[in-house]
Symmetry: C2
Subunit: 230 residues, 2 copies
């Protein structure tokens, strides 16, 4: 029985753009586990109430329900130890937690400022008011003002936030070393978010991170490359 | 035969404060390898010319010479695989490279602005002109102005730079998981730098990073805690 994953969708149900859900799509493919995704919108709280919280990704793996992308990745690693490892052992997993925290606390926040109005334009109309009011409260200005300021004044800061990854990718092909690990899926998912929901190019074409991203787009039969984009 | 390590020293030869050298002192202790340190000053380029470059740490391990802290950690892991692992395998090592790059590119730079004049005050007088001119060129202002600005305006940014570690340490006792890994030594060494060379408290006393630092100071017989401070 395939794992079921509730996956954030846009007005077009085929548009899937959550950075956290992308991490898990890649992790499932990494482990060769089939998945059935269920399109979910921000306001569909009832649909995932069984998980005890209100955000995706949520997976149902047989009788087990897991929410939160990091917890799901750890669940997959523990439950399917004979399939290709996401972490390469306990220390690799511990280190990946810092990479996860870095991507969440630094890279995602910087990326949001570049595409937040485009997200609003892409999501289901029923989610629009919730998304606008919650994000405008967070930023203290309109989504359009955040995005305009971001593109005018904060693009360099976003690109600088990726410096650690850029330094690593000078020395090894994947954040996981010779082969991809969950660290790659963390950053790849983070970047699938602006890539799917916006046509704004957040990275310079000659950035080594782009060369890595292109390789990652081809993983698992081109899972990432086949994603619907706005 | 003990490994020999060239270690940055201050005017007081017992004052050892290089963040990169501290990472290796901890890594050597982690592996239970004895070391003889040689005090070295910024301008002692001739003393390490045998390494083909001009920075410490440099180690001489039998007939092998290695410079650059990351390269030294990898050398120790490869050369002494039967001793406690620094990385927990290839993936853990690959992930640690990103943590190393993050500490170098983000945390060290933010810390420098808080203590750079104190460093000048602590180093050997013969290093003073070199240190002042090279750092003032980099910052575009006097060391005293950098440090005053840093303490007045950039302390929060330094503390924010540690957010990824803070998030991890809420969930696990060490960056390496249940036990310390080289990831811990990377960040610990980074923080030994301001700790040894300055009396300015760069972290708030109630910061979870401080609780972790206190535990790390006790590792290996209190190696870090016994360090000479200005």
């Amino acid at each position: 029985m395939a794992i079921v994953m509730y996956d954030l969708a846009g007005a077009d149900p085929a548009l899937r753009f959550s950075p956290y859900c992308w991490r898990i799509r890649m992790a499932l493919a990494h482990k060769g586990l089939p998945v059935e995704t269920v399109p979910w919108r921000f306001t569909d709280k009832d649909a995932i109430a069984f998980s005890g919280q209100g955000r995706v990704p949520v997976i149902r793996d047989g009788a087990t329900v897991v929410s939160d992308s990091w917890a799901i990745a750890c669940h997959l690693e523990a439950t399917y130890p004979d399939r290709p490892s996401l972490f390469g052992g306990a220390t690799g997993q511990a280190h990946a937690r810092l990479i996860n925290a870095w991507a969440d606390a630094v890279v995602l926040g910087a990326a949001a400022r570049l595409v937040v109005a485009d997200i609003h334009a892409a999501i289901d109309p029923k989610d629009g008011d919730y998304f606008r009011s919650s994000r405008e409260q967070r930023f203290g200005m309109t989504l359009e003002a955040v995005q305009a300021d971001g593109r005018a004044n904060r693009l360099a800061a976003f690109r600088d936030s990726l410096t650690p990854a850029r330094l690593v990718l000078r020395a090894q092909p994947w954040l996981g070393g010779d082969t991809p690990s969950y660290a790659d899926h963390i950053l790849f998912g983070t970047l699938q978010w602006p890539r799917c929901v916006s046509r704004f190019e957040v990275l310079a074409a000659n950035d080594p991170v782009v060369a890595w991203q292109e390789r990652a787009l081809d993983l698992y039969g081109g899972l990432g490359r086949s994603a619907v984009r706005v």
